[in-house]
Point group: C2
Chain length 364, copies 2
């Protein structure tokens, strides 16, 4: 049997720093648990543009298609703000999502016990929170045509198209229902069916999939604006939320921030099963490239490390190893080890990115 | 001089109950301050559909075009969930917004001192909060064509179009900059220019208006997902936020909920000046029709009453009278008078909708 393969794309900003800590974890699994990964590395985002004039080369795209899982750090930064739309760092990430057809983006919004005080929300509102947002990732207004800036009369017009097919909605709905069955068996679907026809279709298709294939799961529907409200009011009412690409972008970021654990939250983007049965998969932290603190050793590597834990669980069916890694993170937090983003308590001295990585390796 | 004219559209659910309290306030201004309004009333939403088979008759639409200001309660309810899209209650409201060309929707997100404990956010995060969200209201994905559900191959496709012209962005940007000048002189514009071309145009046009006409105002830009995060983390960093129709829908609802004052928050939707110099205007509470508590005398009328205060300020240039009404509301809250939605403290008995209205009249 060949070793499972990983493509590591550290990207921009704090990406390389946090990814260096993930490599320590990967090495630990190889040395101590005999889990050896074939690791290769590549460029994505601004650093790829700097080297090759494109945020993702065809070669790296092909490599991503051929490995078992991709781990990505973060892309973007002010240095690239004035680049043409077609070569912006984000286009590299969007191309990976689209060409690998990673339609289900899993974003857990979890509040870590040791950090419940750290949220801007009251402790009882977030303590113990554990919800999963399933965001459609390969369609909707992110990719719909026509799009662009056009001249009309004597002014410019900006156009984007929200476009969802029945089968695109079906497959992400199934992902949400499957996840719910392994959790608390509840799905809430969010759209704006009161205003958008694409939302009407979304609601109808989710309901049909539910009725035919998952009648045992509890399903509710909510308008996305009400959903944003309810996430802020009492997020524990939710288990799994399923929503489209754009609503998912806003709602999952809001939910992540509510937990007070933004530097802690991983994500998995999954597609259809490959020949070996493993899903196409890309794992990345929810946080961005944080250019303001890049290169200073201040970044929190936990979100990226937990993204690797998600890879163990969803790509390699190693749930027990994922549990082990998550437990190590919890232990380090419980011990009071904190990177600078997690400071709230008095008198705690922050550790560096690499000290946090070392602490987690030690806890393993 | 003729009296200023008001069209009252109570709508559905709790709309009629809360509007009855506004009428007490209007009567008080007529009796005690000699401010007599010509008030007419009409139907919008589900109740109009029940009576006339349409959520807004042409007659009521014409009336709305001819008055100085429209006051609206709320529209919608589960009873109308299965209606065809074209006659849903919401279409009545959307037709008013579109045909009156009410492009600037002003949504203050304010935390009332007496209610700071009531938010799901920590007190220091929200106490004293006072931000203004300016949402574009007549364009974007709410109205763009093509739209609909189509057959393609052998499946359905749901389509909506985000479409913004330069002049649509310009005029709402001006509204935001004007407001900022009367406040803390800061505007933050939110879009997804990293993903959507309409967002690129939005950012460019807002920057151009800023540079040419409002260089004295501080302008920043934020991606809407980061905006959702920052609203949850530290909302006091903002003064005026300007954003498009759909992002504004979600962000303003989230912001409203953060204040803990959802039943308290008014809105104004303003268009171009009419022949008499007053802007086309519609005022409505941010909350919805709340069908679960409709008809029980439990609803909080304050959001609707404060919407009338906004009418005094923005349509009738009676800032001092608006201040008076807002002060009366603050006094009643400081006295501990609470409708059921505002209960949090132990041992407080809620007052009814009409008792709250009476208390505010008494405080005037
Ligand atoms: C970087 C950007 C293109 C991306 C998105 O909008 O999807 C990010 O915000 C995210 O949520 O992963
Ligand atoms: C009722 C609905 C059509 C409306 C909207 O989506 O604009 C509401 O949510 C609002 O924010 O005023």
């Amino acid at each position: 049997m060949t070793n499972p393969s990983l493509l590591i794309l550290p990207g921009d900003g704090i990406g390389p720093e946090v990814m260096a800590e993930v490599r320590k974890i990967i090495d630990w699994y190889g040395d101590k648990r005999g889990l050896v990964f074939d690791v290769s590395e590549g460029l994505v985002g601004g650093c790829s543009y700097d080297a090759h004039g494109t945020p993702l080369t065809d070669e790296t795209m092909e490599k991503a298609q051929s490995v078992d899982a991709v781990l990505l750090g973060a892309v973007g930064g002010p240095k690239y703000d004035d680049l043409d739309f077609s070569v912006k760092p984000e286009r590299g990430l969007l191309r990976l999502r689209k060409e690998m057809d990673l339609y289900a983006n899993l974003r857990p919004a979890q509040c870590f016990d040791a950090l419940a005080d750290f949220s801007s929300l009251k402790k009882d509102v977030v303590a113990g929170l554990d919800i999963m947002i399933v965001r459609e990732l390969t369609s909707g207004i992110y990719f719909g045509e026509p799009r662009g800036i056009f001249e009309e009369g004597n002014e410019r017009v900006g156009i984007n198209t929200q476009r969802y097919t029945e089968s695109e909605i079906e497959r992400v709905a199934r992902s949400a229902f499957e996840l719910a069955r392994k959790r608390n068996n509840k799905v809430c679907s969010m759209e704006k069916a009161n205003v958008m026809e694409s939302g009407i279709l979304w609601r109808a298709v989710v309901s049909e999939v539910h009725e035919k294939e998952y009648p045992d799961v509890e399903l509710s529907h909510m308008y996305a604006d009400a959903g944003a409200m309810q996430l802020c009011r009492w997020p524990k009412q939710f288990d799994v939320i399923v929503t489209d690409n754009l609503f998912g972008d806003l709602l999952s970021d809001a939910a992540a921030m509510l937990t007070g654990s933004l530097g802690m939250l991983p994500s998995a983007s999954l597609g259809a099963p490959m020949a070996n049965g493993r899903p196409k998969a890309l794992y990345e932290p929810v946080h961005g490239s944080a250019p303001d603190i890049a290169g200073q050793g201040k970044a929190n590597p936990i979100a990226c490390i937990l993204s690797f834990a998600m890879a163990l669980r969803y790509s390699f069916d190693m749930g027990a190893e994922a549990d082990r890694l998550e437990a190590a993170v919890e232990k380090v937090l419980a011990d009071g080890v904190r990177t600078a983003d997690l400071l709230g308590e008095e008198g705690v001295t922050p550790v560096s990115t690499s000290e946090m990585g070392d602490a987690i390796v030690a806890a393993l």
